[in-house]
């Protein structure tokens, strides 16, 4: 038997075994559309938890079928046919002598994929709830200020550009750090988890995490329902904001994230609004402070005014009191002066009286004194004495005091009480 004969035999037997198309479940592990419009797929079935393929087959969607199948799939699932999707395919088993075993895809049932996603979603939700982490990120307190933002996205993604443009329009400045990741395709889950781990390592530098994609293909949102990714998001220590961009069912990542927004632009708007709220809050506090301070100032001003008025009143009062006191003093002074005058004049009269007495006394004494002197002097008058019988003996005009001064024959003058006589000494005196 030749090889050709053997291959033809296998082909005949297969055609006999699969006369009609069959529905088969598989995951797309590779997918390529060539220049002529045919789509070549590699299908796998992964077994158990280790995800190692346990079956593999090549498949092809001829260009006669591919556009209608792809469109139908997109319309039902909202997602493009892509690697990683689990699909239900209607296939014709074929065998070619030259190319071997192959499955020709006639149709794909999108509702299976939807159901698979839903099942994965439900499993992830149940597991996260069982872990007790489902609400953890949502229960994180949203910081008052969201300014230092770690972004998980793809640099080339239209969603990231939309996000940045929206922020640029805002009157606030944000500090954006991009952690570049694949946001779609088979590697997306691991890539996003790595980005989250990188952010967690520097979490002090950020206020929140923004996870965005959008624009372009809507295929393969399944990574946002995967347990591994959603577990990371749920337990992430910073609030996670999602803008994954789809309008079908929420992904589990959206559900566990602190805040879910439809699109990257919406995330940017949210950040700006938060900032505006904080700004308004600041304005409010400033206004409150202004109110309180101005009230306080007003209060102080009034106190000052009252104090000033009080001082003025006190000054006026004091002035009035002092005036009254002065008036009283003046009145008293006048009274005192009169009293004093009366007393003075009385005293003066008394003094005059005393003076009169004294002077009279003085004059009396002087008179007595003079009278006494006069009496003495009167007694000493020589005429008076001579009248008693004494005589003054003079010789040569001089009074003679001693008898021895006279000699016999001396002539003397005798002055008597009345008249004078001349006399001659006749004796010789006693020796």
């Amino acid at each position: 038997m030749t090889l050709t004969e053997l291959q033809r035999l296998v082909k005949r037997r297969l055609d006999e075994a699969f006369p009609l198309p069959v529905w088969v479940v598989a995951e797309i592990s590779e997918m390529k559309v060539n220049y002529s419009g045919h789509c070549y797929l590699e299908l796998v079935e992964k077994g158990g938890a280790d995800s190692i393929p346990q079956a593999r087959a090549n498949a092809v969607i001829w260009r006669t079928h591919f556009p209608s199948i792809a469109t139908a799939f997109r319309m039902v699932t909202g997602s493009e046919l892509a690697v990683g999707l689990k699909v239900l395919l209607k296939v014709v088993v074929s065998y070619h002598e030259l190319y071997g075993f192959s499955l020709q895809v006639n149709d794909i049932d999108p509702s299976y994929t939807l159901g698979d996603w839903e099942q994965q979603r439900q499993q992830t939700i149940a597991q996260l709830q069982a872990d007790g982490v489902f609400d953890m990120n949502r229960e994180l307190e949203m910081p008052l200020v969201l300014q230092r933002i770690a972004v998980v996205s793809s640099r080339q993604a239209a969603g990231f550009r939309d996000f940045m443009q929206e922020l640029d329009r805002a009157p606030y400045r944000f500090r954006i750090t991009l952690f570049d990741a694949f946001m779609q395709g088979a590697g997306a889950e691991s890539s996003i988890v790595e980005a989250l781990e990188a952010i967690a390592a520097r979490m002090e530098e950020f206020d929140a995490v923004v996870m965005i994609r959008g624009g372009g293909s809507q295929s393969d949102l399944s990574c946002f329902n995967s347990y591994r990714l959603c577990s990371h998001v749920a337990q992430f220590p910073l609030p996670v904001l999602t803008g994954i961009g789809h309008d079908k069912d929420q992904s589990v990542a959206d559900m566990v994230a602190a805040r879910m927004l439809k699109t990257p632009t919406a995330v940017a708007t949210f950040l700006v609004e938060e900032m505006a709220q904080f700004d308004a809050w600041l304005d409010g506090r400033r206004a409150e402070i202004e109110t309180v301070v101005s009230a306080w100032l007003q209060h102080q001003r009034e106190r000052l005014e009252r104090a000033a008025q009080g001082t003025a009143e006190a000054a006026v009062g004091m002035t009035r009191r002092m005036e009254l006191r002065l008036e009283r003093l003046q009145g008293e002074l006048v009274r005192r002066k009169e009293e004093l005058l009366i007393r003075s004049s009385t005293r003066l009269s008394m003094a005059v009286e005393r003076l009169r007495e004294r002077t009279a006394h003085l004059f009396e004494r002087q008179r007595e004194r003079i009278a006494a002197a006069e009496k003495i002097v009167a007694v000493r008058r020589p005429e008076q004495i001579l009248r008693l019988g004494f005589a003054i003996v003079r010789m040569g005009g001089r009074a003679v005091h001693e008898a021895s001064a006279l000699h016999s024959g001396d002539e003397v003058t005798l002055t008597l009480g009345r008249g004078e006589r001349r006399a001659k000494i006749t004796d010789h005196g006693e020796k």
Partner: protein, 72 residues
Amino acid sequence: MEKNKPGYAEAMAEVEAILEKFNQGAMDVDTLAAEVRRATELIRCCKERLAKAEREVNEVLNEENDGNEKSC
């Protein structure tokens, strides 16, 4: 002589001095006569002064008594 009349106190002092001399008795009869004359003169002078002074004082005191606002 009239113009050189001593004041009352001087005159009285002189009179006293003369009286003292009298008491001591050391005096010539002629000097005595002169002193007596002198003393008599002084006494007369003192009397006059005293009378004048008394008159003046009484005048002043009477003035003080009935018209003390006169010169103050």
